[in-house]
């Protein structure tokens, strides 16, 4: 393992899966598989529990919320991501078959997942990738980030009652899906990434993306001029939490980003500084994501060396242990694999939504019901990547 070692904690806490507590540089094996978890809350007199979900048209995915409240104010929330918990069979499969499952853990962030998994396999087998492939993967991940951030910004506009910008951003999000479809043959990058290879055609991406980003700039400026919009987001859902990840962390002033401190897909030759905000509220999370849309477009423009790769065919053999970490649109995403003759003996994944859901629970305390939706949407959490068990 080139980037990871087993042993005492080193670096930032990324999360826990089974008996692994994962930091940015280390994996600590523990006995208690629930060492990193939420506090247990007990109802106080005068409070009742309002159950919301798991299925309601107002939510993107199935998820349950227990809101503890004496009336209007929310004193505590328990989020249950396990209603739709899927059990995925990966162990015992070939790397190629495992990849089909991995890219469907969180389909909206499939390229981050498949690149992290492929990189862990490459680490296990000592496969070096060329700068050309590294740059192409960066391009793919930044495209995925732009689309994901557009989706979250759109979803923050919706409950705020801003239908026109929400629609316009939806239009742009779809235009990005079409860019991805032209470049990879699939709107969600499925089967476009493999061990040591990619399937990608970068022709025409920059001008198409420029148009989208210019349109977004216009909408973004319009939103910033709207007092009503700003009032709804500002001071709503403050989250100062030492273990936040991704845009939610950067929105609270934490300079946290796998693109800076992970060796997996190195950004060393790319001009990159994390986008930071200090306010730590829904507004700050909206700002970080919006500004990162421009930043990701800038990164894509700066990439040279991005080619036209036709094949995602892989044949993998060999044994070894590997680990990798990338910055998904939601934050640090970690994969560990153990291969035996090209077969997956063990696979572990830690998704950023795991830590961010704990921070969301903290942030909602003291908010009122009407603020609940923006706050949830502003975190951009994907339930699919937490409610999942790998076997």
């Amino acid at each position: 393992m080139k980037w990871y070692k087993f042993g005492k904690p080193s670096g930032r806490l990324i999360g826990q899966v089974d008996e692994f507590i994962v930091h940015s540089d280390s994996i600590l094996e523990v006995e208690d598989s629930t060492a990193v978890k939420r506090v247990n809350y007990h109802k106080v007199p005068g409070e009742f529990v309002f159950a919301y979900g798991p299925s309601t048209g107002g939510l993107m995915e199935s998820v349950g919320f227990d809101l503890f409240t004496p009336g209007e104010l929310i004193n505590h929330v328990d989020v249950d991501p396990n209603f739709k918990k899927r059990t995925l069979q990966v162990k015992g499969k070939s790397v190629q078959d495992a990849l089909l499952v991995v890219e469907r853990i969180n389909g909206f962030h499939s390229v981050s997942n498949s690149i992290a998994f492929a990189s862990a396999v490459e680490d296990a087998l000592g496969i070096e990738i060329s700068d050309e492939i590294r740059h192409t993967r960066i391009l793919m991940m930044e495209l995925e980030r732009i689309r994901s951030h557009l989706e979250v910004v759109k979803r923050v506009c919706e409950p705020a009652g801003f239908g026109v910008p929400s629609n316009q951003i939806g239009y742009l999000r779809e235009e990005v899906s079409r860019i991805i479809s032209r470049a990879t043959g699939h709107r969600f990058f499925f089967s476009s990434n493999g061990v040591g290879t990619v399937h990608f055609n970068a022709n025409g991406i920059v001008p198409a993306l420029d148009k989208i980003v210019n349109e977004f700039d216009h909408i973004f400026r319009g939103l910033l001029q709207s007092k009503i919009f700003l009032n709804r987001l500002q001071n709503n859902g403050r989250a100062h939490h030492p273990n936040l990840l991704g845009p939610a962390a950067r929105a609270s002033g934490l300079s946290v980003d796998a693109r800076m401190d992970s060796g997996t897909i190195s950004y060393k030759d790319i001009d990159f500084n994390p986008v930071l905000q200090e306010e730590a509220d829904s507004f700050a999370r909206f700002m970080v994501r919006s500004r990162e849309i421009f930043q990701s477009a800038e990164i894509i423009r700066s990439l040279e060396n991005v080619g036209d790769f036709k094949s995602a065919d892989i044949s993998v053999s060999g044994s070894g242990e590997g680990a990798a970490r990338v910055e998904s649109p939601q934050g640090d995403l970690f994969y560990y694999v153990n291969l035996e003759d090209g077969v997956v003996e063990d696979l572990k994944m830690v998704s950023p939504s795991y830590m961010n859901i704990l921070a969301f629970e903290d942030s909602i305390v003291g908010n009122i019901f009407t603020d609940f939706h923006f706050n949830w949407e502003s975190f951009g959490i994907w339930v699919s990547e937490i409610g999942v068990e790998i076997r």
Binding site: P54, S55, G57, L88, V101, S110, E174
Partner: protein
């Protein structure tokens, strides 16, 4: 304030495509109807006896040597229709265990390129107001009851629509959300493209 956005909406002009009357403007290659012949090593047995079952296909491209994507987006089966829903068709979406991509694509049919509202297709937040339930994802233990309750809460007549390979057959993830014979409409793809979703849903009303 809101007038600024109103003007903005007008400034942008009409962006909706003529689909399904006209052909899709930007159909994806994967998923689209596969054409070819021969036996292949398919991870979901979607190709059996030289016949391709789009409801089992995850569009992984492994058979690409023998089966080519045709761009044809009509990969759905409408077994039952109901013309009562022509004036308004309210969908209740239910995520029984999805990866999230099907959810995004269902939402996309309401974006300006597709604008499902113009075809009198809407979503509702409660099954009590729904004409059809759209099931996405594989069956999971935790969602069985929610699916059952939502279906029971819907008034008659009602349709069950399976969106995506997981819901139809389980794909590479698990077991289908419901037995296949319970679906009135099956929309293939992993995930299905917004073109396929829009046309299938519109056909469910006898269009």
């Amino acid at each position: 304030m809101s007038s600024i956005w109103f003007l903005e909406g007008i400034r942008k002009g009409r962006k909706t495509e003529k689909f399904p009357k006209a052909s899709p403007k930007e159909p994806p290659l994967w998923p689209s109807r596969l054409e070819g012949k021969g036996e292949v090593d398919c991870p979901t047995n979607a190709i059996d006896n030289n016949a391709w079952d789009s409801g089992k296909c995850v569009f992984c491209r492994r058979c690409e040597q023998s089966y080519k994507p045709s761009l044809d987006q009509d990969i759905f089966t409408v077994k039952d229709t109901n013309q009562l829903f022509r004036k308004s068709f309210y969908l209740y979406k239910l995520d029984s265990g999805s990866c999230g991509a099907c959810n995004v694509e269902l939402g996309t049919i309401f974006d300006p390129q597709y604008d499902a509202n113009r075809l009198n297709i809407f979503t509702t937040n409660t099954p009590r107001h729904a004409d059809a339930i759209v099931v996405m994802g594989v069956m999971t233990d935790g969602m069985k009851e929610a699916l059952q309750k939502a279906y029971e809460a819907m008034p008659d007549p009602k349709l069950i629509i399976a969106l995506g390979t997981c819901a139809i057959s389980g794909g590479v993830i698990g077991k289908s959300a419901l037995p296949r014979d319970q679906y009135n409409v099956e929309i293939s793809g992993c995930p299905p493209s917004p073109y396929t979703i829009l046309k299938a849903i519109s056909r469910a009303r006898g269009d």
